[in-house]
Amino acid sequence: MGVWWIGASRPDAPLLDGVCARLGRVFAHTVSLFEDVRRPADSLDPRRGQHSSGRILRFLGAARPGQRVLAVTDADLFVPVLTFVFGEAELGGHAAVVSTARLGRHEGPAPLRARLAKEAIHELGHTFGLVHCPERRCAMARSSQLVDVDDKEAELCSDCRSLLRDKEREGAT
C-alpha cells in the first residue's frame, strides 16, 4: 500500500515519510510513497471553493486500480451534505484521502504531523473495514472537530486491532 501526495503545493517529504512510517507500524504493512504527478482534474467545486472527496476517491480508484492508497492533499475537502471533512475513505475498499487544510497547518509542523498521522490511520482503517470506534482515544474514533483529533492517539485501540486482524483474515480467505 502507498501514500500519494495529490496537493497543489510542493510535497513536504519529512511529513509524508512520517505518515508512511506510522501507517507501516500500525497496519504492519510495507507503505511506500508514490512519486506520481497525476492529480484529480474534476474534484474542485467552484461554487463551494472546496474539493469533493468522493470525486478524489473515484480518481484514486481509476488511477491505481486494486491498490490500497491513501492520498494526502492540502485542498479543503467536502462531501455534499457536510460543510467540510478531514478526509474520506471507501469502507472496506481501497481508496482513502485526507486533507491537511483543517489540521492547523499554521500551528507549526509538530501538531500537523501528529494530527495527520491520526487522520491517516483513521481513513486507512476504514479501507480495512473498520468503522468508528466508541473509544475516544482510538484513532478510529469519529472526529468532527480539531479537538476530537487532538484527543485521539495515533494508535488503534485493542478492540480495533483485534477487528483489523479478523478483517485481514477474512480478506485472506
Binding site: V81, L82, T83, L91, V131
Partner: protein, 454 residues
Amino acid sequence: MKRERVRVLVVDDEEIVRESLQAWLSRDGYHAETARDGRSAIARLGGPLPWSLLLVDLKMPGGPDGLAVLEESKKREPGAAVVVMTAYATVDTAVTAMKLGAYDYIAKPFEPEELSLVVNRIVDEQALRHENALLRRVVRKEYHFRDLESRSPAMQSVFELARTAARSNSTILVLGESGTGKELLARAIHTESPRARGPFVAVSCAALPETLLESEFFGYEKGAFTGAVSRRRGKFEAAHDGTLFLDEIGDVSAKLQMDLLRVLEERRFTRVGGTEPIQVDLRIIAATHRDLEQLVAAGQFRQDLYYRLNVIPVKLPPLRERCEDLPLLVESLLEQLGTELGRAVDGVSAEAMEMLLAHDWPGNVRELRNVLERGVVVAHGRILQESDLALPPRESPAAAPEGELPSLEEVERRHVVRVLDHVRGNVSHAARILGIDRSTLYDKMRRFGLRTEA
C-alpha cells in the same frame, strides 16, 4: 445495542446526497439504506425490520414530499426518529415539521459535528429504550418465541410445535439435556398461551427432598408439622389460572409421582395436614433431562404418570447439534449480559468464536452463558478475546493418551468431578446420577479432596 442493528433510511432525490450520507453512516457502523423519493420511502415503511432513524429531505419533486413521509412514518414506524433536512431552511417549514413530530430539523449542508450530535443523540436514546425493554424482560422473566432466537431447522420445528401447543390446554413434556433452555421454552409457551395473564410458577423437583417437595407442591395447613406456624399455599394453588412448570420431573419420588398423578387426573388436591379439597385450573408443563421411557422400563417412573405427562412431547436439541446458532446466541447473550452487568460488549474476536465453535458444550446454553459472563467480567475491551473465555480443556475420561493410562481410582475421581460439575455441585443430584447415596458420595469427595459449594 449493536450499531449495525441501527437501521437508517436516507430519503433524498439527489443521488450524491444519498450516497454520501449512506457512506457517512456506514463508517459509523450503522446499517444505512436509501430511497430516491417520497413514494419509494413510504413503500419501505412498516416492514419486518423497523427503522431507527429516517433522514428525510423536505423538498422532493413529484409525489409525496418530506412532510408526507414524516406523517406516514408516524403511523407505520412509530419507533423511528425522523430528522428533516432541507437546503431551503425557513422557520415556517421547521415549525410544521416539528409539529408533525419530527425529531429535529437540519439545514444542508450540515456541520459534521451537527450531524454527529443529532444521530448520536437519537441512537443513544433508542439504545436506552432497548436496554430498558431488555431489563424489563429479564426482571419479569417474560419470554416470547421470538426471544429464543435460532436458525437451526431442528429448533424451528420445536418452536412450531410449541407454538401450536401453546394455544391448547394440553400438558406439555419438554425433554432435553441440562442447560438447553427448557424453562425458557416453558415461559415462552406460557407467554403465548391464553393463560399469559395468569401466573407462571416454576418448581424444581430435583432441588428439594420428598417431604419438603410435598408441602412445596400442595401447601400446608397450620400445625400440619413442626414449624408449620401458619397456613401456606403451595405451587399448585399459586399457579391457578396460569401455568405450573415442573422441572426435573424424572427426579420425583414414587410417593410424589402417585400424588401428582392424582392431581393431574382430578385437578384437585388437599394441603398437607388439611382435609378440604382444592380445585385448580392450570396447565402443566413438565421437563426433564432424563430418559423417562427408560425410567419407566426400569420401574423408577410410573407408566400412568408418564402417559399423563407425555401428551405433547417437545424435544430441545443440545447445543452441539445446532452449532449454526452459536453466533446468534453469543450475540444475544452478550447483549443481555452487557445490560445486566453494566458493561458494553460488542462481540467476540474471530479466534474466540472459533474456540467457542470447537467446544462441545456438555452444559449447553447455560454453560455458554456462564463462559460469556466470565468473559464480560474480565475483558478489557469491548470485544472478548480467547484469553477472556477460559473454556475448560476438552477431556474425555476414557481417552487418556497412551502411556498415561489412569488408575481406576483416578478414573473414578474424574467421573465424580465431571458429574458434580454437570449438576453445579448439587450433591443429591450427583449422587442420584452416580447411583450411590449421598453419604457415600460425601466419603468419596473427602477421599478425593473435593469440596462441595456451600
